[in-house]
């Protein structure tokens, strides 16, 4: 099977909430748990037959029913998920785990509980700052989650099981990183859209299936021709992007997305855990300290600094900073980020978008203008 054939297969996988691999895993007795935010540690949802599934609404058309409850001024990601849930498209999930990441997601859980009453739902109270007290709080929150998971699903959440989950996650992240790092090359063998497809599959299928797919992808990508037909190397920064269409539209103008610093991207998503530490503390520490979201109210300068460093490391020509309309935290952050990037000498474009792909023509025009502004 060629690289392109594998990409087509992965696209099929991510086109449906219940993909064939997940369906098979459920038939084998595993329990998929939906989650929405990077402050929900995947390792904890991988224990003893659980499968973490980053919930998405692929192909979402409208959110008319969800708007009755969530209104039309909440972010379209939350609305699309509620629409899918009300349309029974998430009935296969054994439960939902949320983090109190933002107002919109918190209210999504409220409405889910009211409208569909899932058998299992839980909110992790993630602090809005770092520091010892915040870390202790978060560790306790994860401990509470583990207790609830053990009670409800009768699974083993002991230290050995946690250690195994850490090792498994590291193995998956290591494989993904090997592919992700190819994009640092001057002429990468993989486009941003192709890599995003791999990332999204890795967040929505059983880890075993994904590792097998990654081995095949690594073999085939090595034999692939390098990307040469692009005008500029770009970095995308922002919130949730779980649809490859957005990256594809950017790349259709001649840009090549080499760095993906957003919720579902590899930066800093593919964090490696120290296997010699206490597993729960290690998971809590890395999740709280390294998932750098604007909801962390003290970290703007760190976030800006790390974006600038990453942009230099990946040798990008420009940075696209995007957010989903109605997102308050990213809505305010993006303006400040763009100013900071420009002050650091990096061309930056700010884009407000809808969760589902809309206004493709306008988007393309704005990116073309951005490339031209950079003389690319």
């Amino acid at each position: 099977m060629t690289f392109d054939d594998r990409q087509t297969r992965l696209q099929d996988i991510i086109d449906e909430p219940l993909n064939t691999w997940l369906d098979q895993a459920v038939a084998d007795g595993n329990v998929p748990i939906g989650y929405t935010c990077s402050y929900v540690p995947r390792a904890l949802l991988s224990l003893d037959g659980l499968i973490p599934v980053r919930v998405r609404a692929p192909g979402a058309a409208g959110t008319e029913i969800a708007e009755i409850y969530l209104s039309n001024v909440t972010c379209s990601y939350s609305r699309s998920l509620l629409e899918f849930a009300m349309d029974d498209r998430y009935d296969f999930l054994g439960g939902w785990v949320f983090a109190a990441g933002c107002d919109h997601i918190r209210r999504l859980l409220d409405n889910l509980d009211y409208l569909i009453s899932p058998d299992f739902s839980h909110m992790i109270d993630a602090p809005h700052r770092k520091g010892d007290a915040a870390l202790d709080w978060y560790i306790k929150e994860l401990d509470i989650l583990l207790e609830k998971l053990a009670d409800h699903f009768g699974i083993d959440t002991g230290e050995e099981a946690l250690n195994a989950a850490v090792i498994n996650q590291n193995r998956l992240h290591r494989s993904l990183k090997e592919i992700a790092d190819l994009r640092k090359q001057k002429q990468p063998p993989i486009s941003g859209t192709e890599f995003q497809r791999i990332m999204m599959a890795s967040l929505t299928v059983p880890a075993g299936d994904m590792e097998k797919a990654l081995r095949e992808i690594k073999d085939s990508v090595a034999r692939r021709e390098k990307q040469t037909d692009f005008r500029a190397r770009l970095m995308v920064v922002g919130g949730n992007i779980d649809d490859t269409d957005f990256i594809h539209t950017i790349e259709s103008t001649g840009g090549l997305v080499v760095a993906d610093r957003f919720c579902t991207g590899s930066l800093p998503g593919l964090v490696m855990l120290d296997e010699s530490n206490d597993p729960l503390t290690e998971i809590a520490q890395k999740t709280l300290l390294e998932t750098s979201c604007p909801r962390m109210m003290e970290d703007f300068q760190d976030r800006l600094g790390s974006i600038i460093d990453t942009a230099r490391e990946y040798d990008v020509d420009g940075v696209i900073v995007e957010h989903i309309k109605f997102c308050d935290i990213w809505g305010i952050e993006t303006g400040l980020l763009v100013d900071g990037l420009r002050e650091a000498g990096l061309p930056a474009l700010r884009l407000e978008r809808d969760y589902r792909q809309t206004g493709e023509g306008q988007l393309r025009t704005r990116i073309q203008a951005f490339l031209e502004r950079m003389n690319k």
């Binding site: 009755i68 409850y69 969530l70 209104s71 001024v73 909440t74 939350s78 109190a100 933002c102 107002d103 919109h104 918190r106 209210r107 999504l108 409220d110 409405n111 509980d113 009211y114 909110m123 109270d125 602090p127 809005h128 700052r129 007290a133 915040a134 709080w137 306790k140 604007p294 909801r295 109210m297 003290e298 703007f300 309309k325 109605f326 308050d328 935290i329 809505g331 305010i332 952050e333 993006t334 303006g335 400040l336 763009v338 700010r350 407000e352």
Partner: protein
């Protein structure tokens, strides 16, 4: 006491004169030339000077003790704003800018002068409805999305235009919403001051959360001691908390009285007195005196069987922050439909008294006042926190209808309207969700709000307007 026309006129004359006297004394103390210079520096002073027009809008048509209680509340606010101006003019070396969900009691106990930034965005449109539009526009011109709540946009606009007074530091938090929390990133960048941020848990209703937040408050005290000349005086904090407890005793008595139909007091003596005294000047003896006076007036009305409004036909609950650019909506509703707006979400709370026994118990008590207080309680934690209060108030205060101030910028509460609509229908509670924007009358005007209420009263309540 029977209301009389002369008595009612005298109330307005007396309190407007008192208010002007307070203003004139401040001008004399500060010096007229310095006042002119500061008006140019802080143009919002000109809006605040028009405070008597707001008092008139509140008391117009009201009579007797209800009219006087309203004037007393307004006069108290004038005194308090003047003290705040004195802090700006004379105590700049102690001034700390703080967000509206940070307890000012601690800063006062430290000998600091707290300046609540959001207060301008609240008070100015109350006095002059269009007065914060230039600040909202300034924020949007800076790239803040238009869908962000207009209150943080007003606050950011004040910072962007350089209309905030020089201060030593800024203290803020992750309350009450994402927009409010994030707005301080821009304010920090603009003011270039050291900023401290309090972290308040989502699940605040546990002992663990109370202790965590008390730890945050201790961290804030340490930080303020490191960044300002303020020093913690625990004895002073105990006095402030005890004074606050006294005020709360009076408020609880007032709430007991307004359960009775017709209510002996309603409107501003209930909601504005709470909003100001519990949020801006908690723990000051002046605030306790005001509550004592209002409660006494309510008690007398109750003893004499006097209703606050002439003909109380309906009793309503106003949920979410009130329409600040149409703040005389209470007065309008009384005169137009005989509606007493008995209770509101910014007033109702389930805050216990503060235990002043130890330093920890005071910090935990203050933490509870913030976490379980209005806004925080309703924008954090599960939807239950928001919804249960509405149904409790409906029953406890014998309410006939619920009005939700559906501020378009409050995504947090907009996302609960669907649930609320169905639950009210199930309980047969008439519900009106008013579409509007908190601070910006260009989105929905006063007339637009009235039109929505008229449709509801006519079609759902089958009400007739009162004869004018």
């Amino acid at each position: 006491m029977k209301p009389s026309l002369i008595g009612d006129l005298a109330v307005y004359g007396k309190y407007s004169l008192v208010n002007w006297m307070k203003i004139i004394i401040l001008v004399v103390r500060h010096g007229p030339f310095d006042v002119i210079r500061d008006i140019r520096r802080y143009p919002w002073i000109l809006v605040l000077l028009q405070v008597n027009s707001l008092m008139w809008r509140f008391i117009r048509g009201r009579t007797g003790r209800y009219r006087e209680a309203t004037a007393v509340v307004m006069s108290d606010i004038v005194s308090s704003v003047i003290r705040m101006m004195e802090d700006v003019f004379f105590r700049g070396n102690r001034l700390v800018i703080h967000e509206d969900m940070v307890p000012p009691e601690i800063m006062r106990a430290m000998g600091l002068a707290p300046f609540m930034t959001e207060l301008m965005g609240i008070l100015m449109p109350m006095i002059k409805p269009h007065s914060v539009e230039n600040y909202i526009d300034a924020s949007e011109n800076e790239g803040i999305p238009p869908d962000i709540c207009s209150l943080p946009k007003s606050t950011m606009g004040l910072a962007l235009k350089g209309h905030l007074p020089p201060a030593l530091a800024v203290v803020t938090s992750n309350l009450p919403c994402d927009g409010g929390m994030s707005s301080y990133m821009l304010i920090e960048k603009k003011l270039k001051l050291p900023v401290f941020r309090l972290d308040i848990p989502y699940n605040f209703d546990t002992d663990r959360a109370v202790k965590y937040f008390a730890g945050e408050l201790r961290r804030m005290i340490d930080w303020l001691e490191a960044h300002t000349p303020g020093r913690m005086d625990w004895e002073r904090l105990r006095e402030i908390c005890e004074e606050r407890n006294k005020m709360l005793e009076y408020e609880l008595e007032l709430w007991d009285m307004i359960r009775i139909r017709p209510a002996p007091l309603a409107g501003e003596p209930v909601w504005l007195s709470h909003m100001w005294n519990f949020n801006v000047t908690p723990g000051s003896p002046a605030s306790t005196r005001i509550y004592k006076r209002i409660t006494e007036m309510g008690r007398k009305n109750l003893e004499e069987g006097v209703s606050s409004i002439k003909d109380e036909r309906y009793r309503a609950l106003l949920w979410n922050p009130p329409m600040i650019h149409f703040i005389d909506i209470y007065n309008w509703a009384e005169k137009t439909y005989g509606i007493s707006l008995i209770m509101d979400s910014m007033t109702f709370n389930r805050i216990p008294m503060i235990d002043t026994g130890t330093q920890d118990s005071m910090l935990e008590g203050l933490g509870r006042t913030i976490m379980a207080g209005p806004m925080a309680r309703h924008t954090r934690g599960p939807a239950k926190n928001y919804l249960d209060d509405i149904f409790h108030i409906h029953k406890h205060f014998d309410i006939d209808m619920v009005w939700v101030a559906g501020h378009i910028g409050c995504k947090n509460t907009q996302a609960l309207n669907g649930m609320l609509r169905e639950l009210c229908r199930r309980e047969s509670i008439p519900l009106l969700i008013i579409n509007y924007d908190l601070s910006d009358p260009r989105i929905v005007s006063r007339e637009g709000i009235i039109e929505q209420i008229d449709h509801f009263m006519e079609n759902i309540m089958k009400a007739e307007k009162m004869a004018s």
